[in-house]
Symmetry: C2
Subunit: 636 residues, 2 copies
Amino acid sequence: MSWKFTPLELKRLCPVPSDIDIALAQTPKDIDVLAAEIGLQPNEFDCYGKQKAKVHLAAYERLESRKNGNYVLVTGINPTPFGEGKSTTTVGLCQALGACLKQNVFACLRQPSQGPTFGIKGGAAGGGYSQVIPMVDFNLHLTGDMHAITAANNLLAAQIDTRIFHETTQSDEALFNRLVPRTQGERHFSAIQVCRLKKLGISARSPAALTEAERRRFVRLDIDPSSITFHRVLDTSDRYLRKITIGLANSERGLSREAQFNITPASEVMAVLALATSLDDLKQRLGRIVIGTSFDGEPITADDLGCTGAMTVLLKEAFSPTLMQTLEGTPVFVHCGPFANIAHGCSSVIADKIALKLVGENGFVVTEAGFGADLGMEKFFNIKCRYSGLTPSVVVIVATIRALKCHGGGPPVALGSPLPDEYTKENLDLVREGFCNLRKHLENCAKFGVPAVVAINRFKSDTENELLLLKELCIRHGAAAAAVSNHWAEGGQGALELAKSVQSAALHATSAFKFLYPLEMSIEEKLETIAREIYGAGSIELSQRARKKIALYAEQGFDRLPLCIAKTQLSLSHDASKKGEPRGFAFPVRDVHASVGAGFLYPLAGDIMTMPGLNTRPCFYDIDLDTETGRVMGLF
Amino acid sequence: MSWKFTPLELKRLCPVPSDIDIALAQTPKDIDVLAAEIGLQPNEFDCYGKQKAKVHLAAYERLESRKNGNYVLVTGINPTPFGEGKSTTTVGLCQALGACLKQNVFACLRQPSQGPTFGIKGGAAGGGYSQVIPMVDFNLHLTGDMHAITAANNLLAAQIDTRIFHETTQSDEALFNRLVPRTQGERHFSAIQVCRLKKLGISARSPAALTEAERRRFVRLDIDPSSITFHRVLDTSDRYLRKITIGLANSERGLSREAQFNITPASEVMAVLALATSLDDLKQRLGRIVIGTSFDGEPITADDLGCTGAMTVLLKEAFSPTLMQTLEGTPVFVHCGPFANIAHGCSSVIADKIALKLVGENGFVVTEAGFGADLGMEKFFNIKCRYSGLTPSVVVIVATIRALKCHGGGPPVALGSPLPDEYTKENLDLVREGFCNLRKHLENCAKFGVPAVVAINRFKSDTENELLLLKELCIRHGAAAAAVSNHWAEGGQGALELAKSVQSAALHATSAFKFLYPLEMSIEEKLETIAREIYGAGSIELSQRARKKIALYAEQGFDRLPLCIAKTQLSLSHDASKKGEPRGFAFPVRDVHASVGAGFLYPLAGDIMTMPGLNTRPCFYDIDLDTETGRVMGLF
């Protein structure tokens, strides 16, 4: 069934105005109108203002027996620092499929962090005539999910240190009396305390029945402060919080320790929310979050700290994806935005699941994964699809002539510096040389059994010869199709060729999706598989510390989790300067961490920044509110 | 004009069930229905889900020529640690006026912080049959205002340290080139940079026209790290953040300093939002926030740091109060919740202003102020009413037999311990003795020229004789009326006598509102006036530090601001153990701080805790989400 859907007309100007001017020039449909168009029933969504709504799992439950639509992943080659336009392509493709080709289509995007929004110019709502609107909302609080994640994360973080404090300053007896207080003469364990009893293998459920030794085990988590890997977060770029000492007030009696704040997208809670398949799954994953170990090396969880229920309550609205729309009025889900290095970099499972039911069997759900395909696509398949059980239909790999030239040996490019001539004048050799990077991603796609369409995101300076050459190379090396796309300047109309290619690939190309590795493989084997098969490494090199951690996780039973490798996005390898298709290198892993709640281990290849800073002139110098009109100025 | 208003029927049970059971048993009206009932037009509000809406200033602007309703302040005697039920009385009174007496009535309440919500049992949505619903929303994220305040606060906080870092590590030249970069060949000052030029008295507006000395003054704020009084905030009770060292990562090159986090309600941004009378006033107050001084002692502001516009943008939705309803379907605004010690402890000016227009000339707006009348009422009058220009009609002073007995010499009471017999059995002497505390608040009320009605918040153990005695005493000592109120057990019906007394006082008693002091008084004089007239002190005692700060603020021109004294709420004096009506004591001021953006100085009498901690068994041990039904459990 096709939606009774009215697109918004795009009045395009040339030259293309600024993103915010384009966004503010378009009047979005009232969100309840869009919700009705795509078949949502009134009890299945809640409006947040007139242009945003939260869509509830109830919609999925009603449509559970309906077949899923086509599931399209937008990924990219290894980018330059400018980015190659994955979000813009996702939006443009959806505008083409929905507004031009009248297909049922949903875009599922990540929510940006306020840190970069107020630091470095550049939003995540797409750009030009391919944007999500209202873009100001998209880039600010939206419906509060990011803040709810911050709150849930920090409740657990506060409880970790507070519990250490209380255990250090109280006897077993005092702790027990406080943890299991007498109310109206009786002591009872709360539900979350029963979880701990079960974990400890204590069968008694009546507080009076515990032996002294059992009481001690029950009340003492004995957290080793040096083992704590769960950090506080803020959604602000605040470099001074990268390393801090906490607990210096007299009230903490000298129990200070070194700690850190990360930016909210780096929170494990974000990854948990993005991977949860139901409210119950969300709660279970939160409860499993490991914050560190006891002095005996036992993993300590959110359940042990009694936080699971409260965290779930704090996240109950954040679990519903936010419905918005593109400039051409097609539906968009915005939901979650985990880091693409220390986490899996994809928007939520639940948004995709609801969207796949709403579009129905012949419709399309287009989603994206962070960074290049070596990181984003690999994790999308091996982590997100594994947990969601959803099967991808088509992969779209976004490439630009500019980035390929860079991979082909063009001079280095940097933000804020003018582009060298190689990038603004025809240079077929550089394109031909640099194609190896795209070729490798096409090969990788084939390893997962999913057909790939290349989206050549067109820039003004690209020549017809360059574009023609690139298309030929793509087809010759296994792409199901390659389409030049001009959605930035032209909206959906500019992505028509791409949209038709995706349609055709979904219909005709064979998709036989398979994972790259089984979960039963050892951690080392998984690491080696990803490094060799996806990155093109010749071997892996484990540091002493990484070996120790791998042994520890195996002992703790976490070795059956998928891997989420943290490395640079700028190269297929671990070394940002290695462009093109590096081969046979030794891939070094310096450490391995665990996000047990989210459900993955994350090996670290290099230093990963988890708290950005503000530059000397952050972009907020231009941001202002016109208090007469309420109009936001200077946001992109 | 009377609203066409349909109350919700209250199906009362006896004994009174738990707050959450009562709240969940009632079905709220859809918020758009309530909005229509109270005369809001569709473009004047935005729904956030089906039971909350944000109401915009547009409603006020449309009704600007309409006369204001009666403006009723609910305050209290000096409380016991249990609290005496101001919020519950506010809600019960509104249910009585609106649902029973068919008056147009609005309650304007503060939004609670998530810190205490997840720490110590006890919400701020009222209790029993006098509550705001949905109470779960009320106590959680609501419409995100608290989080927006956190974000705006922390953007400024991050920029303070980052700016210090950039100034320390860069030459004047490099700073200027970065702060005023060439875009398409030209350098321009942004609007916020022009503010700084004006402040510095630099007349040039073209970057090239600045002399080297002017450039230096422009780029170097020269912030003295030891002078910084603007702190980071989190809406989490996290005691380990009371004192921290920041900037310990290598990337900060040794520029560490001691810092602290406060809980969000303690943020000056919260006080600014609560006092702003328009979006433009909000922006100007934010821009005036003083974060510390330069090494030369010059105050450094948010404007100097370039943050004002971005902070205003982050707060633009938070500026609109949230519409909810009572258990009996009368309208409630929930907006802002500044601390009642280091800030003024009142909900927002803007909510009151909109509500006073909506209820119209004969209607009622009932709002509350934090802590006892010595703090809350005094600040409500001298700070909030001064900035809003609104004139109070009636004050309701909430008193309980229990608290008066405590003031009369009853044994100490504490949370979690059983009440001594004196509080559960008739004891007229203790009531008579303790009345002096209430009498002093009645006298204070008279000093402002506003009639006072005493609301005796009834407890089961109160005897008829005790209540009768108290009523007599109140009338004899200047109360316009005294009414026993049983709204906790009976809802609006239980507050009928109180409602009629308030109606009558508004109609018949003479209100000749005046401030306690003129702004032109010196800081010492203002301090002495409040301490003598309101607290009953004989003198003030300024520490060395306080004297120094008073001199500094006078020099900086901040001595014309009203005062916001931070002291204990448990006594009229600075000493929590001094019950009843202490007289003639020396009131000690150890320090004075400034919230220049909010618009007050806050002298400190004693240690004020600005970051709570979690106890050994925080109430979140009982909080859970039933993932089948979505029902929140254990929240109060």
